[in-house]
């Protein structure tokens, strides 16, 4: 596919334009209609459950039972007050935030440190350590779950925030390191040497020169870890089972479903789901390109 070839082709196409153009525009239109039909069908299928949740969160319980589909006739704000107070959504969100603040910082810091050393320094055992970290991606978390429970129990970290933070960090490391190692390898080595020659220590070079250069990669993997840890369900379901007040948001919603099943207040359940869902979706829409890149980053390479 050389450039000359295409430029040579163009005049020929241009001279044949009139009949060709007509045909192309007709097939183009049918094709457009064809593809848009399918695309819209899936658009509706992807969005409908979420729209239904939001609509129903404004309707009183009785209406929802008699007619699952329907527009709210009046805005039932009580649902949200119920979800917020009795179902503790605010509390769960706060728990999630506190844990995330610790675990995300820790994951990014430890992950970047290990990845930098593994990517930029040659030392005996380098490949082995890299394999050890990256190999963690191959093991299903459920294999480790039972012993992990007792490891935390023995250390007195079961049902604590610190314990959950450390576990989140540990299980985020394999992918974070895998991703960042290949990212650090793409950075030019000359800058690192120059910093060293100017008398900067290794850690100073890392924090003040290499980390800022790795910013795009850090943002991608940061978003990936943010969503992964915010949405984590398996680990807290097993390791955070003490006080129901300490539940994180996904746990809290699962519990809310059971609770509202008994109490029979679907309105409050939908309101709770909306409260948990809408902030994430809003942030996602605002930064959709970065989020999409972040979540698909690892699979592309």
């Amino acid at each position: 596919m050389s450039v000359t070839e295409t430029t040579e082709d163009r005049p020929v196409e241009e001279s044949e334009r009139p009949p060709e153009q007509h045909r192309a525009s007709v097939t183009g239109t049918t094709l457009n209609v064809f593809s848009h039909t399918f695309l819209v069908v899936w658009l509706v299928m992807a969005a409908a459950p979420l729209v239904l949740v939001v609509l129903n969160s404004f309707r009183p319980h009785g209406d929802i039972v008699s007619e699952p589909f329907g527009l709210p006739t009046s805005l039932e704000w009580d649902n949200f007050t119920n979800a917020w107070t009795s179902a503790n959504i605010g509390r769960y969100a706060l728990n999630s935030l506190i844990i995330l603040a610790g675990s995300l910082t820790g994951t990014m810091l430890l992950g970047a440190m290990a990845a930098y050393v593994l990517a930029r320094f040659d030392f005996p055992g380098n490949r082995l350590l890299h394999l050890l970290f990256v190999g963690g991606m191959m093991f299903p978390i459920f294999l480790a779950l039972v012993p992990l429970f007792f490891v935390l129990n023995n250390m007195g970290l079961l049902n604590t925030r610190q314990g959950l933070i450390l576990v989140y960090i540990a299980y985020s490391l394999p992918f974070t390191i895998f991703f960042l190692v290949s990212f650090f390898r793409t950075l030019p080595g000359g800058v690192q040497e120059a910093a060293m020659l100017d008398g900067a220590s290794h850690s100073r070079t890392f924090f003040q020169v290499m980390l800022p250069m790795a910013k795009p990669g850090l943002i991608s993997i940061g978003i990936f870890n943010f969503l992964g840890q915010w949405n984590q369900f398996v680990l807290p379901r097993v390791l955070n089972v003490g006080d129901p007040d300490d539940a994180v948001l996904p746990q809290g919603l699962a519990a809310l479903m059971v609770q509202q099943g008994y109490e029979g207040d679907w309105g409050a359940l939908y309101a709770g789901v909306s409260l948990a869902m809408l902030p994430v979706l809003t942030v996602y829409v605002a930064f959709q390109r970065q989020v999409q890149n972040g979540l698909t980053a690892g699979a592309v390479r």
């Binding site: 596919m1 295409t6 192309a24 097939t27 457009n32 593809s35 848009h36 399918f38 695309l39 899936w42 658009l43 992807a46 969005a47 459950p49 239904l52 929802i64 007619e67 699952p68 589909f69 440190m113 290990a114 050393v117 030392f123 350590l129 050890l132 970290f133 191959m138 093991f139 299903p140 978390i141 459920f142 294999l143 480790a144 779950l145 039972v146 012993p147 429970f149 007792f150 490891v151 450390l166 540990a170 490391l173 220590s201 290794h202 850690s203 100073r204 969503l227 949405n231 369900f233 398996v234 996904p250 746990q251 479903m257 679907w266 948990a276 994430v280 979706l281 999409q292 979540l295 698909t296």
Partner: protein, 352 residues
């Protein structure tokens, strides 16, 4: 560390300058030792630019930076994985610290455990069907997005509004699977669930079921939710892969008279195959998990997949030893799956 200094000395023999500075005088040795213990900024200038000190400093840095990640990773990831293989051969209940080594008794029991095989069948069903359905839909929609429109003088063109489609398709990906499970549990619910109401509305009232999630339909219900939540991810992933295919290739195919579907199977699919295969492995691993969906949606004693069966054995029935045996089985399935995927799909990478 002594060893590394020696090696460092040897490593650079080729670069010349192997003079008197390589012989360690006691004074130099002391200064190196002091510099090694103190933070870098207090390093005396006399050793700062010494080759041996630089090497020493580098190793100190490596150890210092790897210590914390390795410690956390070792305690919470490596050690539980290693312990799991050991506990799978014990009769440990998990309630007390005492257990007996029973060899392969758990494995024998698992072999004869009907519920284990039910769960395995369900997990394998998800493992086989979910990636095929999800990736097929993902490829279909992403091809529609990248090549579904046609503009003048362009071989392929994306449809208008492809950005909007991608945004909405991706919605389920940013939500927790627990939230998705809650939403779909309500849809499948016999009491004012959207599925039954919807069937009624389109005149298929006879298809309604009292308990979608308590019957043999449960695994299919879970499968649908799993596919639904991941299609958007693959649309975005494959769209990116497809847009990296140069337009000239499409143009050449069009001049040769290839239609849309032929272009897809002969050009787009082979050129995105690497991404598809990686995505397949990832989806398979997601399908083998499916714990959040089953745990939240399906009522107890309804239907199990391997992770949920393991969970109930370990944390409800107090059979921690047996549960880890199930974990080993799950691990083996994952391993076989990944190995198969890596083998069957291997082709030469096409450079573009």
């Amino acid at each position: 560390m002594e060893d590394t200094t020696q090696r460092a000395g040897k490593d650079v023999t080729g670069s010349g300058g192997r003079g008197s500075e390589d012989r360690l005088t006691p004074g130099m040795r002391l200064r190196l030792a002091v510099a090694f213990v103190l933070p870098p900024r207090f390093t005396p200038d006399s050793v700062r630019y010494d080759r041996r000190y630089r090497k020493l400093d580098q190793y100190r840095f490596i150890v210092w930076f790897l210590a914390a990640p390795l410690l956390v990773y070792g305690i919470f990831v490596v050690s539980p994985f290693v312990q799991a293989f050991f506990y799978s051969m014990t009769d440990w209940t998990g309630y007390s610290s005492s257990y007996r080594f029973t060899g392969f008794e758990n494995y024998e029991r698992m072999w004869n455990d009907d519920k284990f095989w039910d769960a395995t069948r369900n997990s394998l069903l998800l493992l086989v069907v979910a990636p095929v359905v999800t990736l097929a839909l993902g490829l279909f929609f992403s091809y529609m997005l990248t090549a579904g429109g046609r503009r003048r003088s362009e071989a392929v063109a994306g449809v208008t509004g492809s950005g909007l489609y991608k945004i909405v398709y991706f919605f389920p990906q940013v939500l927790s699977l627990a939230i998705i499970a809650v939403i779909w549990a309500r849809i499948y619910s016999p009491r004012s669930g959207a599925l039954n109401a919807g069937l009624d509305a389109v005149g298929l009232g006879s298809w309604q079921r009292e308990d979608w999630l308590g019957s043999s339909w449960a695994i299919w219900c879970v499968l649908i939710v799993l596919c639904w939540s991941f299609v958007g991810f693959y649309v975005v992933l494959f769209s990116a892969a497809m847009s990296s295919i140069p337009n000239e290739i499409y143009e050449a195919a069009r001049l040769d008279g290839a239609g849309r579907s032929l272009t897809f199977f002969r050009i787009t699919f082979p050129l995105t195959w690497e991404t598809v295969r990686t995505g397949w492995v990832y989806m398979g691993i997601q399908a083998l998990d499916a714990f959040a969906l089953v745990n939240v949606m399906v009522p107890e004693h309804g239907m199990d997949v391997l992770p949920s069966y393991l969970f109930s054995k370990a944390f409800r029935d107090g059979q921690a030893g047996y549960a880890t045996t199930i974990g080993v089985a799950l691990f083996l399935i994952t391993l076989v799956f990944a190995a198969v995927m890596m083998r069957i799909g291997r082709r030469d990478r096409i450079e573009m």
